[in-house]
Symmetry: C2
DNA sequence: TTTCCTATTAATTTCCAAATTCATTTAACT
DNA sequence: AGTTAAATGAATTTGGAAATTAATAGGAAA
């Protein structure tokens, strides 16, 4: 119960959509999982979360239940909740699926995108390219602003695919991929020139060259995965351990 | 608290995974939404659900939160829950997306499927073909057994696609499509010979003719959608009403 | 009539304590 | 020793009451 209802504006008829504690916990916990602040496989005890997010048990459980159906949290009846686990095999499967789904989204978006769509891509690329990847200069530190703009850019590309379902699937897969990306961000930084990759993607998209845009995007996705795989992270198992409750 | 924990088997080491009230409500409510027993757009008040499922508020809310992230229920902070709405435009978008996703799943599954996969397809087709579409003879009545076997058959086809994500997406889209199908089931029954459609799909799949299998499956999906659209159901709006809270 | 404000009612959300279930240890027995 | 059973402790799950918020109705002012 900290910053709940920061401003209850009731002057004009525009109803201010006040949020709930459950939703606020949901957003925070989701972010903590994506950044790896809550580590893969970690047990999520209600008392611990109660303290961490300064909320009661009910809103905490509501958030956990929401996250469990998006596969960020895994639930076992009568045995509570875990952060979903990760594995090399899982990353390979995820990467493969992302390439399939994003290919459709890009092709459709390029076919149906209009002027406003093009402008949004240019704009979001500009904003992204002016923001540093890391919030520190020499070492890697999570930069929430860059992360947000990065998502905006990739979302702008596929925005006109014509299916809310497809957009939702892409987002869910990006969420999952982000968890792996954060695991290796420190290792890979600053080996990579992501700006050029994004620039190429933008140019191919704006010139409506679907084949090339798809190729660039898939290479982009695979490269990120390869960096994680080649980092040989000790805490990343080859496959999902079926005895592990965080397998999901 | 009716049939909770039907048998608490603790003889052998194999831990019997006892379920929770929340999960039981979740399953029941999900089914009620898929069959249309809880109608699209309907408000879901906690008191009403409390009575309907004979449970406390906490498990009911946990079920609602789970369903809301799978887009079967739509949630508005401080304003409660609705069954997700339906519309003609929504059905068109859903159908388009299903064709995209299932095409990938079928092609991959045909590429990677083994002997056991083929046998499972034959088996599930056999079971499906021996089960009546309707649980009554002349008029349509929901037949849970047929619905289950129907899902099993289509799942068997794509089972070897190699991606749990893709399988999950297919299932989510089938869930949504089922809601539309039930809306028009009474109207379309018994106009259609679904058995032949399934037979053709099975044969194309077993002969590893991916192009044909995809064509049949997409036609299958589109035909179902067309029946719903052409039924001109009075309660099916053209587009989603943005003022309607059940829009999601 | 319309708009705005207030009082009232209804519904949602949250906290918390009791009930249930799981995990671990200890004891008893073969 | 090894296995089974009971006992203890810890964690999850649940029901309901209290707090918060939205929706509604009624009345005053423009």
């Amino acid at each position: 119960m900290d910053e709940h209802r920061p401003f209850a504006d009731s002057r004009n008829g525009a109803k201010s959509p006040s949020t709930t504690v459950a939703s606020s916990v949901y957003v925070k916990m989701r972010l903590d999982i994506l950044t790896g602040d809550l580590r893969p496989g970690e047990k999520l005890r209600s008392e611990f979360l109660r303290g961490r997010y300064n909320a009661g048990i009910s809103p905490v459980r509501e958030a956990l239940n929401r996250l469990s159906t998006e596969r960020l949290v895994c639930r076992e009846d009568q045995r509570g909740f875990h952060v979903a686990g990760v594995s090399k095999a899982g990353l390979v499967e995820l990467t493969k699926t992302r390439c399939w789904i994003e290919e459709i989204a890009i092709r459709e978006s390029i076919e149906w995108g209009d002027d406003a769509w093009e402008e949004q891509i240019v704009l979001s690329f500009h904003r992204l390219s002016r923001t540093p990847r890391s919030s520190e200069d020499l070492t890697y530190a999570f930069n929430a602003k860059w992360e947000g703009l990065h998502r905006d850019f990739h979302n702008a590309i596929i925005a006109c695919c014509g299916s809310h379902w497809l957009l939702g699937f892409c987002e869910q897969l990006v969420d999952q991929a982000d968890r792996y990306r954060q695991l290796a961000a420190a290792v890979s930084y600053p080996k990579r020139n992501e700006r050029n990759e994004h620039k190429d993607l933008m140019e191919a998209t704006l010139s409506r060259d679907a084949d090339r845009a798809v190729a660039i995007q898939c290479a982009h996705i695979r490269k990120t995965a390869d960096i994680v795989l080649e980092a040989n992270l000790s805490f990343l198992p080859d496959d999902i351990d079926l005895a592990d409750p965080s397998r999901c």
